[in-house]
Amino acid sequence: MADKKAVVANVPKKKATSREKKDWIAGYIFIAPVTIGLIIFYIWPFIQNIWFSFNDVNTFNVATWCGIDNYKRLTGDTEVFNAFKNTLKYVIITTPVGLFFSILLAALMNAKIKGKSIYRTLYFLPSVTMSAAVAMVWKWMYNDQMGIINSLLRALGGEGHNWMTDPKTALYCIMVIGIWGGVGYNMIILLAGIQGISTSYYEAASIDGAGPFAQFFKITIPMLTPTIFFVLITGLIGAFQVFDTVYMMIGAANPAFEKTQTVVMMFYRAAFSYGEKGYAAAISLFIFAVIMIVTVIQLIGQKKWVNYD
């Protein structure tokens, strides 16, 4: 690449090149472990997964080419269809509801009140706890005979309900846990966003006579849209992949199983319970495609409502 004559004519430059080369080697040494590790355990598996999706992989993990059979089966599989329906329902409800409460809490936490750090700590607590443990506690609280929720309802004169086994309610119960677990975390991000808004906007607005509600909707929300967008995107991607709570709370014998099975759960069972790894690979790529499409729609849609200045 370098002009030979120029290099010969310009001796100091040649020296610089040898130092440059030393730097190159140092650079490669620094990035080598992570790069090699990611290639072996992530990038190569990604390619392999695509290949598996065109194969029939039996329980002994021997792959035989089957073309697009797995994808054909995918389009006609009602179980997969239902799992996608459940997951979409979960995503469509938990994301906006969670976002609403996170913004509300962040706005309230921005007020000049006492005990803010205590609130912050308590609200953040679910984000540091293991979802498996959390699922166990909620399952116990939802218990139809002895659960505290039904006991409370009965004490208030109402009736108990078999929350986790009724196909109509089980998924909503899991949504409650998802919202409960994510609100504090998102509140912290949004609060940082609110505190990053310059006070001069508020000062100008109050001179113009804008009350707290007008200020909230006309200044806080529009200025916060980049942060809201970030929370929304990460929330959507996370919600699509819900697994731990569903796995812990709904056994295969549960009558609500069909109405609560999510796509990752379906993937898990296909790959590791039924040993249909080729088909499961196709399911996982389908999940990926859906997440990508939703994210791209979001990225295009953001131009309409996210303010960047």
Binding site: G27, M130, M136
Partner: protein, 274 residues
């Protein structure tokens, strides 16, 4: 003035009702864990245990190899955190501060890992670990988690914000790249390292799906999947289940109370940097 006070009272009321919703499951978990199985099933339930009984905690230690499981979780979290953070900080420095051929291409390739949901890698990762004969081992548990595109990206942002002059001065003083990295640059990105340590330790401790797949014998498990089998085996022993849950969440809660500021700042920054 009293209008303002009323306003604050209103804010406190909303925040407090939220707190009750958020904290109640933790309280119920702890309270149930100190009851006898009989008391836990009383209808209507008692709120406070009649006597604080620790039977559930001692039973759990014999029902599962719980001490061993606890140890496994600790060891795997420490190995994953230390090695991942070390490797990520090296790579982040390389990508942020050194010029070499194909740098951007390699970086984009690694970043693409961030865009893909984890399930995509799971089957091939499982087969790799199986073929290496590492199922049911500490090595199999930690291996894919030692490398992180997210950590590399996060720390790269921190390295990039440091002034160039620092390195130039060090080079003139005769330091080589490795010395510059270790002695000069690494201490300056401490806030980033702390964030990544917290994030990774939390992830490793709470990890569920991967350990559920690879480490299935009771004495090789970590806490998440162990709780699942506890729940499966002792379906109606609620105090025992809750005792397991309490023990599983306590280390991270303690860690959170100690490093609260770092936890919260790390999360707050993720929204600003991203």
């Amino acid at each position: 003035m009293s209008g303002k006070k009323l306003q604050h009272l209103f804010v406190h009321l909303i925040l407090l009702s939220g707190v009750i919703f958020v904290v109640f499951p933790f309280a119920w978990m702890v309270l149930t864990s100190f009851k006898t199985p009989g008391e836990a099933m009383l209808i209507p339930p008692t709120i406070l245990p009649e006597n604080f009984i620790t039977d559930a905690y001692s039973e759990i230690l014999t029902a599962l190899p719980f001490a061993q499981i606890y140890m496994n979780t600790f060891v795997s979290a420490i190995i994953i955190t230390v090695i991942q953070v070390a490797l990520c900080s090296m790579a982040a420095y390389g990508f942020a501060r050194i010029d070499f051929p194909f740098k951007n291409g390699i970086f984009v390739l690694l970043l693409s890992v961030l865009m893909v949901p984890g399930q995509i890698f799971l089957i091939p990762q499982y087969l790799i670990i199986m073929n290496l004969g590492l199922l049911d081992s500490m090595m199999g548990l930690v291996l894919p988690n030692l490398f992180s595109a997210f950590g590399t990206f996060l720390l790269r942002q921190f390295f990039m914000s440091l002034p160039k002059e620092l390195e130039e001065a060090a080079i003139l003083d005769g330091c080589n790249r490795y010395q510059i990295f270790y002695r000069i640059m690494l201490p300056l990105v401490k806030p980033g390292i702390v964030s990544l340590v917290i994030f990774t330790a939390k992830f490793a401790w709470n990890n569920f799906l991967w350990p559920l797949l690879v480490n299935t014998s009771p004495d090789k498990m970590i806490l998440g999947p162990a709780l699942s089998s506890l729940q499966g085996q002792y379906t109606t022993q609620y105090p025992m289940q809750m005792a397991g849950a309490v023990m599983a969440v306590i280390p991270l809660i303690v860690l959170f109370f100690i490093f609260q500021k770092q936890f919260i700042e790390g999360v707050a920054q993720s929204g600003i940097k991203g």
